[in-house]
């Protein structure tokens, strides 16, 4: 009768608004459609208060270099903006100019310079300024200087028949721990307890043999990932949407067993009800959506695979320069800074 179909219609539009449905051959309802005017009877205009009530952040896991957290109640455009900023616009310090005084190793100068640039440097970029365009020398507020000076010698005490390079030579492996900080100007006063060094001590830079030496001076500057990927502060930053698996009909016995194997372990659990095995969705969050269920003719119409459109599971892995929660805060501040820049420009244009 009429009331039931009206409710079913409303459920249908709710599904279209809140869920991205994975069908057998494609994905439906991908784009956000909840703009004012699209759905009669829904209040879609922007309301900060409604947003604040519905929005929440849950931190799932926080280790020293990785952070996994959930953002619920936000749209794809903004979540993606945070992800793009984390990858490309949060600044860090990295080696930019390498002054080669002596390089007699078999690693070419430019290859060595490229490798040195990619080494993450433990230096808080918020303490430094960007270097001015065209400034070749660098001042103490925008540059960090490092020196790498190492020479390989033969070990006179090695056994005659030994062929192990660790025994035969001194300093034949150049690691990142051999890079030393050379303070510029008044940096010793500006940063009295600072310990500027690469994040990891055991990054192999080059291999040497007796008589070869590397003597380089490096200048680190502040930059962003958009300019060169060496400046990106995250190993990776990604998000996925929360999976939502619904069983449209009760599934029992053998079908239940097959269903459990179709999904990642832990997603479907089998319960024993009245002697029959019944499948139940235990934890949809663990699923990686391989869509194996669509390969089984009997099961594919009994399950609805979908994703919740406004629930984002972020995973941020830092390279070690800054802790991941600081990186996320910085990314949000950078987006605010962009908006502020345009607001200021608008105000200055309207003054004229």
């Amino acid at each position: 009768a009429p009331p039931i179909t009206a409710m079913a219609a409303r459920r249908g539009t709710d599904e279209m608004r809140d869920r991205v449905v994975l069908g057998e051959f494609g994905v439906r309802n991908v784009h956000t459609t909840d703009f004012p005017g699209n759905y009669p009877g829904y209040e879609d205009a922007w309301d900060q208060r409604r947003f604040e009530e519905a929005f929440r952040v849950d931190v799932i896991r926080e280790e020293e270099d990785t952070l996994e957290f959930d953002m619920v109640g936000i749209d794809a455009a903004i979540a993606n903006a945070f992800r793009r900023i984390l990858l490309a616009e949060v600044p860090t310090m990295a080696v930019e100019k390498v002054f080669v005084y002596n390089n007699t190793s078999i690693v070419q100068d430019e290859i060595l310079a490229h490798r040195l640039g990619l080494i993450p440097i433990r230096a808080d970029p918020r303490l430094f300024e960007y270097r001015n365009q065209g400034d070749q020398e660098g001042t103490e507020i925008d540059t960090l200087q490092f020196q790498l000076k190492i020479k390989c010698k033969r070990n006179p005490q090695a056994a005659k028949e030994s062929s192990d390079p660790d025994e035969l030579y001194f300093n034949h492996k150049v690691y990142s721990r051999h890079m030393t900080w050379v303070p510029l100007g008044n940096q010793t006063d500006l940063f009295p307890d600072a310990d500027f060094r690469p994040v990891h001590d055991d990054i192999l830079i080059a291999l040497l043999r007796p008589g070869q030496e590397i003597d380089v001076l490096m200048h680190c500057v502040k930059g962003i990932g958009k300019d060169h990927a060496k400046f990106s502060p995250v190993a990776t930053a990604s998000y996925r949407l929360l999976p939502d698996i619904t069983l449209l009909q009760p599934i029992e016995d053998e079908a239940a067993e097959t269903l459990q194997k179709c999904f990642s372990p832990g997603v479907i659990e089998i319960q024993n009800i009245n002697g029959k095995k019944v499948a139940r969705v235990a934890n949809a969050r663990l699923d990686t959506f391989s869509r194996e269920v669509f390969r089984h003719e009997g099961l594919k119409n009994l399950v609805r695979l979908a994703r919740v459109r406004n629930h984002y599971i972020f995973s941020v892995e830092s390279t070690g320069i800054l802790p991941p929660d600081v990186l996320v805060s910085e990314a949000i501040k950078i987006l605010m800074g962009k908006c502020q820049r345009f607001l200021n420009e608008l105000d200055s244009v309207s003054m004229e």
């Binding site: 956000t32 703009f35 004012p36 005017g37 879609d44 205009a45 922007w46 900060q48 947003f51 604040e52 929005f55 929440r56 952040v57 849950d58 931190v59 926080e62 957290f69 953002m71 936000i74 749209d75 455009a77 903004i78 993606n80 903006a81 793009r84 900023i85 490309a88 616009e89 929660d325 996320v328 805060s329 949000i332 501040k333 987006l335 605010m336 962009k338 908006c339 502020q340 345009f342 607001l343 420009e345 608008l346 244009v349 309207s350």
Partner: protein, 97 residues
């Protein structure tokens, strides 16, 4: 920022040094405004970092207003996200330690 258009209620802003990061999020915020009839952005050429952001309003409202409101709303969203995030991180540390 450069604006050009006919009446003032449909304007194309050219934003320099911007890309999908600000473009898409700003487009979402402006579309949530019920006075806006059309809002879209495009990247003119992938080698140049410039976006064309177009707003058309219903009625006689000048297009600069939804643009300004969209920017302030986006700032409000970011501020709230930042506050919520900064509250939740120390809470989590306290729970796990």
């Amino acid at each position: 920022v450069q604006a050009d258009g006919t009446d003032g209620d449909c304007v194309t802003f050219v934003l320099h040094d911007e890309d999908h990061t600000l473009g898409n999020s700003l487009r979402y915020m402006v579309m949530k405004n019920p006075d806006v009839e059309f809002c879209g952005y495009c990247i003119t050429h992938p080698s140049e970092s410039k976006i064309n952001f177009r707003i058309q309003t219903r009625g006689a409202l000048p297009a600069v207003e939804p643009f300004r409101k969209g920017l302030s709303d986006l700032m409000g969203v970011c501020q709230h996200v930042l506050n919520t995030f900064e509250v939740r991180i120390p809470e989590q540390l306290r729970v796990t330690s």
